[in-house]
């Protein structure tokens, strides 16, 4: 049983990622993205009969707000893997016949009062009590096993812990991590959707940026932003009748995981991509090294780099030397995050909405619509969330 080639992305829309969109609601951002994607696919709103939404946004509420009546819907609860999880679930749902045209829509505004934190974040110590979860429930930030020890702001702490261990186990250097940021920034320079469009940086800039938490530099982290995106999935047969070049899903694996909070992961330097990538690749009939480019979720340099090696783009532990010796810009031998990803593009907040940057850029490149950033070998892309 395989869904190889059964479904395709046939249209998309991305609202430029910006620090904020004052006066806009999450719902309004999602509606704008949805409308753009439906039009881009050459469809009418009443043809949409499937809806996949992000974590924290009940898809029933989204359907109601947008006056949609999907016969198949769910919200993905996968943190950063929400967007790629929607591609995986959407392709399977199309293949199973649950729906004909599935709208995937994600993103949101920022809460300016949260001071750079994501909407709904903790704002004062009283809200950050160290509560046991029903006496022995799951560990997670906010429980008695983490809160008393002073976790780092946002998700920075976990990725600092992973990066520290990766540097220790494999000798990955700060310069190699910085190269990831610099290549992605080069890619963002010509993307009008990127928050840092037109603002180049150097290796020295990354190394001289402050530690958010050692060994993580500020310029290795995403900036929480407002933004949204949407795409439409349909069957291969229906896709051929629509205006855009279909972007076929040749394989999908996961979502895979073993933990919610990082200290429960037995091997902190290996990501669940080690579980999901082999499934996706086997289904596709290709090897990792057959891929022509990659769009990999990148809240932090360590994540995109660790996941690339877990996917088999290079041997485990060698992602540092890989970056040092590879031009990963859109002009290079193996382009990665050709729109700057989220580190240079900005992270549209809201329930894993950041992953829209990767999914939409993959579709954009494969359709040949990336303008001055267009890569020449654009048939096979590995996407991770």
């Amino acid at each position: 049983m395989s869904i190889r080639g059964a479904a395709a992305i046939v249209g998309y829309h991305e609202i430029p990622t910006r620090r904020n969109y004052p006066g806009r609601s999450n719902w309004s951002m999602l509606a704008e993205a949805a409308n753009g994607a439906i039009r881009d696919a050459g469809l009418r709103k009443d043809q949409i009969d499937g809806l996949l939404c992000q974590e924290g946004f009940n898809s029933l509420t989204v359907a109601e707000y947008m006056q949609l009546s999907p016969k198949y819907t769910q919200s993905m609860t996968l943190h950063g893997a929400t967007a790629t999880g929607a591609v995986s679930a959407g392709a399977a749902a199309i293949a199973a016949g649950y729906a004909d045209y599935i709208l995937c829509v994600m993103g949101g505004t920022r809460d300016p009062e949260a001071g750079g934190q994501q909407p709904g974040g903790f704002r004062n110590p009283q809200q950050m009590s160290a509560q046991p979860r029903g006496g022995g429930g799951p560990a997670s930030r906010g429980t008695e096993w983490e809160s008393p020890y002073g976790p780092v702001v946002a998700a920075n702490g976990g990725y600092g812990l992973i990066k520290q261990r990766h540097m220790y186990e494999f000798g990955t250097t700060q310069e190699q991590f910085a190269k990831c940021s610099v290549d992605q920034r080069f890619n963002a320079l010509l993307d009008p959707n990127a928050a840092f469009s037109g603002q180049p940086i150097t290796i020295e800039d990354v190394l001289n940026s402050r530690f958010t938490n050692d060994p993580l530099h500020l310029l290795e982290c995403v900036m929480p932003c407002a933004g949204a995106g949407a795409w439409i999935m349909t069957s291969a047969e229906r896709a051929r009748a629509l205006p855009n070049k279909p972007v076929y899903v040749l394989g999908a694996g996961g979502p895979a995981t073993s933990h919610d909070t990082i200290f429960m992961e037995r091997n902190v330097t290996t990501s669940p991509v080690a579980l999901s990538a082999p499934v996706a690749l086997r289904m596709s009939g290709y090897n990792a090294r057959d891929m022509q480019f990659a769009e990999f979720y990148d809240c932090y340099t360590i994540l995109v780099m660790m996941c690339l090696e877990d996917a088999g783009i290079c041997p485990k532990g060698e992602i540092g030397p890989f970056y040092a010796s590879t031009d990963t810009t859109y002009k290079g031998g193996f382009p990665i995050n050709t729109n700057g990803g989220q580190i240079s593009g900005g992270q549209p907040v809201g329930g894993g909405g950041g992953g829209i940057k990767q999914v939409i850029e993959a579709a954009r490149q494969i359709m040949g619509r990336a303008g001055p950033r267009q890569i020449a070998k654009n048939d096979l892309c590995l996407v991770n969330g």
């Binding site: 903790f122 004062n124 110590p125 950050m128 009590s129 160290a130 509560q131 046991p132 029903g134 006496g135 022995g136 429930g137 560990a139 930030r141 008695e144 096993w145 983490e146 809160s147 008393p148 020890y149 002073g150 976790p151 780092v152 702001v153 946002a154 920075n156 702490g157 600092g160 812990l161 992973i162 520290q164 261990r165 220790y168 402050r210 530690f211 958010t212 938490n213 050692d214 060994p215 993580l216 990082i262 200290f263 429960m264 902190v268």
Partner: protein, 139 residues
């Protein structure tokens, strides 16, 4: 003494984890160990996460010997109550019994003295008269 404003467990409300916090008050570290598998596990659950046997584990004293699995140096805490403590070490510590937990490494220069895999020993911080946190210092 200034009021302690950081998050603390409310052990008295939760019988399952209360013995852990009672032990730290005595400056003892106890960890759940399954009587069937003999495996230590962390965090405490009603059942052993290996064999799923419920209520067949017991709080077991451990040596407190550990290694620093990995760490990050906090400059910007999520919780403003920790703002005066920066920089401090937020760490994954691996006990010699195999379990890993989040804690702080104290009693050394931050960040200069911190090295991944360095040996550590449990130490007990009586943060309030009612609560003692287990932290770790270089061994």
């Amino acid at each position: 003494m200034a009021e302690y404003r950081k998050p603390l467990p409310r052990a008295e409300d939760y019988p399952l984890t209360e013995p852990f916090w009672e032990a730290t008050k005595r400056h003892e570290l106890v960890i759940p160990r399954c009587k069937r598998c003999n495996l230590y596990f962390w965090y405490p659950r009603q059942e052993c996460p290996n064999c799923y046997q419920r209520d067949q584990w017991e709080w077991t004293p451990v040596s407190g010997r550990a290694h620093l699995h990995t760490f990050t140096v906090v400059r910007q805490p999520q919780n403003p109550a920790f703002a005066d403590d920066v920089p401090y070490a937020y760490a994954i510590v691996q006990l010699e019994e195999g379990v890993r937990m989040i804690s702080n490494v104290v009693g050394c220069a931050i960040p200069d003295d911190l090295k991944v895999d360095m040996p550590l020993m449990a130490t007990f911080d009586d943060v309030t008269p009612e609560c003692t946190l287990v932290k770790f210092k270089p061994a």
